[in-house]
């Protein structure tokens, strides 16, 4: 280290730096808040207010109004209090769809987690070449745009010429040619769940694999020298280290699978359109665009928003903590 030579010029400029970074002190010595950060966040804030803020406010208000086709053409929309919510909650259709969505979300999210962790374990167990081949395959699936995913899967499960029915019919005693997978609602949602799982496993597998790589080789060797079995190592050392990643990945899966819309909508295009094939996303869509009942649609959307935000709070807390640490 050499002795610092501070010229007047340099001293001034570093005072400027300090002011830029930590805010101005006026002539009177009182601390003034720096304006720069506020100016910097204004554009983003305004964009968010227009694109998200306004719709959210409109939706909250509309969920308390009667807002149907007549209001679309200029009739005033009277406030009706909780009527929209009451109608939804006391009707049976909404609950059927809520329960269906929750079950669909849980099944798909946990299937994705279990398979994803399994794939990550395989990645960890094999040598370099098979691992890279597996990773490239997973990336291909992950990168597919949803609409392209749905197109190719519709073709795979096509009743007459789909490869799935062809392969199944190769099994002794099975004839699936002509079987339409999208007619029975349970089968419809099974196909949807398989497609979403296929598309989400890569994210889980890569995240969990990344977590595995943070487990130090020395720790594992020490455990092996001490005579720990594979199961003990997994439970005692690896699991505690990767638990935070598992938690956050599961959370994201639950949030994403709860708000699934595009896949269901596109699968309905290919198969059947009735309300027994609806999840919350498509249900709201039909309320809004089909029957033009914006009041009820808004109330339903608010309920979905609370459902997913409830889950998101945990995720947001975790991210805020990370922000505070940086």
């Amino acid at each position: 280290m050499s002795t610092p030579i501070v010229t007047k010029d340099r001293a001034e400029s570093s005072i400027k730096t300090a002011r830029f970074l930590f805010g101005n002190r006026g002539q009177d010595g009182k601390r003034r808040a720096p304006k720069t950060p506020y100016i910097l966040i204004i554009p983003a804030l305004v964009a968010l207010l227009i694109g998200t803020g306004y719709p959210v406010v409109w939706q909250v208000l509309t969920s308390f109004r009667e807002y149907g086709l007549a209001q679309q053409f200029g009739k005033p929309a009277p406030f009706v209090g909780l009527q929209n919510y009451v109608e939804l909650i006391t009707g049976s259709e909404f609950w059927t769809i809520v329960i269906r969505s929750v079950v669909f979300c849980l099944v798909t999210a946990f299937a994705t987690m279990i398979i994803g962790i399994g794939v990550a374990l395989v990645m960890r167990a094999v040598s370099r070449v098979p691992r890279i081949i597996l990773q490239v395959a997973l990336l291909l699936a992950w990168a597919m745009p949803i609409v392209a995913q749905m197109t190719v899967w519709t073709w795979l499960v096509d009743d007459r010429n789909g490869i799935l029915n062809f392969m199944l019919s190769k099994l002794p005693g099975v004839d699936m040619i002509g079987h339409n997978w999208l007619v029975n609602p349970l089968s419809f949602f099974f196909v949807a769940s398989v497609i979403i799982t296929w598309a989400s496993v890569p994210f889980v597998a890569f995240s969990v694999y990344a977590a595995f790589t943070t487990v130090g080789e020395e720790v594992l060797e020490a455990a092996a020298i001490d005579g720990a079995s594979r199961g003990q190592v997994l439970r005692g050392i690896i699991l505690p280290i990767i638990r935070p990643v598992l938690a956050i990945v599961l959370l994201l899966q639950l949030i994403w699978d709860m708000r699934v819309f595009s896949q269901i909508k596109l699968l309905q295009d290919a198969g059947s359109f009735g309300s027994q094939y609806d999840l919350l996303g498509t249900y709201i869509y039909k309320l809004g665009t089909g029957s033009q009942d914006f009041g009820t649609a808004s109330a339903a959307a608010m309920i979905v928003m609370f459902l997913t935000l409830g889950l998101s709070v945990v995720y947001i807390r975790r991210m805020l903590k990370e922000d505070a640490e940086s």
Binding site: D9, S14, F20, L21, P34, I41, A44, L45, A47, L48, I50, G51, T52, Y54, P55, V56, W58, V122, A125, V126, S127, R128, L134, A137, L140, A143, M144, P145, I146, V147, A148, W153, D158, R160, N161, I163, P202, F203, V245, A247, V249, L252, I255, M258, L266, G281, Y285, G288, T289, F294, A301, M302, M305, T308, L309, I316, R318, E322, D323, S326
Partner: protein, 281 residues
């Protein structure tokens, strides 16, 4: 790689990994394979597993006789505007939250995270109302306004990490050496940030380019479509008679391949951005 593994275990593991790889890549392969085959081959009793005897005929038909180019134009315009605006806005906001401690900072971060978690699927009716009340349905601007608000939160979050990773000392040192604040930023910090900006831009590109639900609502006019909407329309119009699977798969391939290429660049950063510090343990 565990050193204790026996050769048999290793072989089984490798075989398992390859089997999984085939399972996951198969739909993508099947799409590309089918895109080269005429529909008469595709609807035969036995499937054709390799594209021998294939041609570019499906691609020709899709590219030049189906409105693909027009949809591509729409996608480029909407994605372009979304990217330019959201990257610029998100970048300065990321500077603010990673370089300054100010009153309201925590609230702003909270807003960003909250908006990121808001389900677009529960908002699109309201967005439809808003855009239609200002007569911007079926316009590039109408869709872009919504996309910008969707892309900004994650981009702010991602860039925040990049900016925070560049020590303030570097900038200060340059300023002590006589560069102005702006010059120090432009010459020292900005080049170091370039990879982060590219990653954020690619991420935003993927989101806007692939988006389906909002576009479906805000572009009800059949002539004004982004690529995902066009692909959906293409299948529907093709399915009026018997589905022309060869052309549908060619269309699907055209939509997917550029996305796959871009995706490969940012995959690592996407995982890190979503899972965040959790990976570090």
């Amino acid at each position: 790689m565990n050193k204790r593994t026996s050769p048999t275990r290793r072989f089984l593991g490798g075989a398992g990994a390859i089997a999984l790889a085939v399972l996951w890549a198969f739909p993508v392969y099947w799409m590309i394979n089918s895109s080269f085959l005429p529909t008469s081959t595709l609807t035969a009793l036995t499937p054709t597993f390799l594209p021998f005897g294939g041609s570019w005929a499906n691609f020709n038909a899709v590219l030049f006789h189906s409105g693909f180019a027009r949809a591509m134009g729409w996608s480029i315009a909407i994605t372009g505007i979304t990217l330019i605006v959201s990257i610029a806005f998100a970048f300065v906001a990321a500077l603010a939250i990673s370089r300054f401690r100010f009153r309201g900072r925590r609230s702003f971060v909270l807003v960003v995270l909250l908006v990121q978690m808001l389900p677009a699927e529960a908002l699109f009716i309201a967005q439809y109302q808003m855009i239609s009340s200002v007569h911007l349905l079926n316009t590039v601007i109408g869709v872009s306004v919504i996309y910008i608000a969707v892309v900004i939160p994650f981009t702010v979050w991602m860039l925040r990490g990049f900016v925070a990773g560049i020590p303030v000392d570097l900038e200060e040192a340059a300023m002590v050496d006589g560069l102005s604040r702006n010059k120090a930023f432009l010459k020292i910090t900005f080049p170091l940030l370039a990879p982060g900006l590219v990653a954020a831009a690619v991420y935003g590109f993927l989101q806007a380019w692939n988006e389906f639900a909002v576009a479906l609502i805000l572009l009800p006019d059949g002539d004004k479509q982004t690529l995902p909407l066009w692909l959906r329309g293409f299948i529907q119009s093709s399915a009026v008679q018997t589905t022309n699977w060869g052309q549908v798969m060619a269309a699907s391939t055209l939509v997917a391949v550029p996305v796959i290429v871009f995706f490969m660049f940012v995959q690592g950063r996407m995982t890190a951005g979503l899972v965040g510090g959790a990976v570090k343990g």
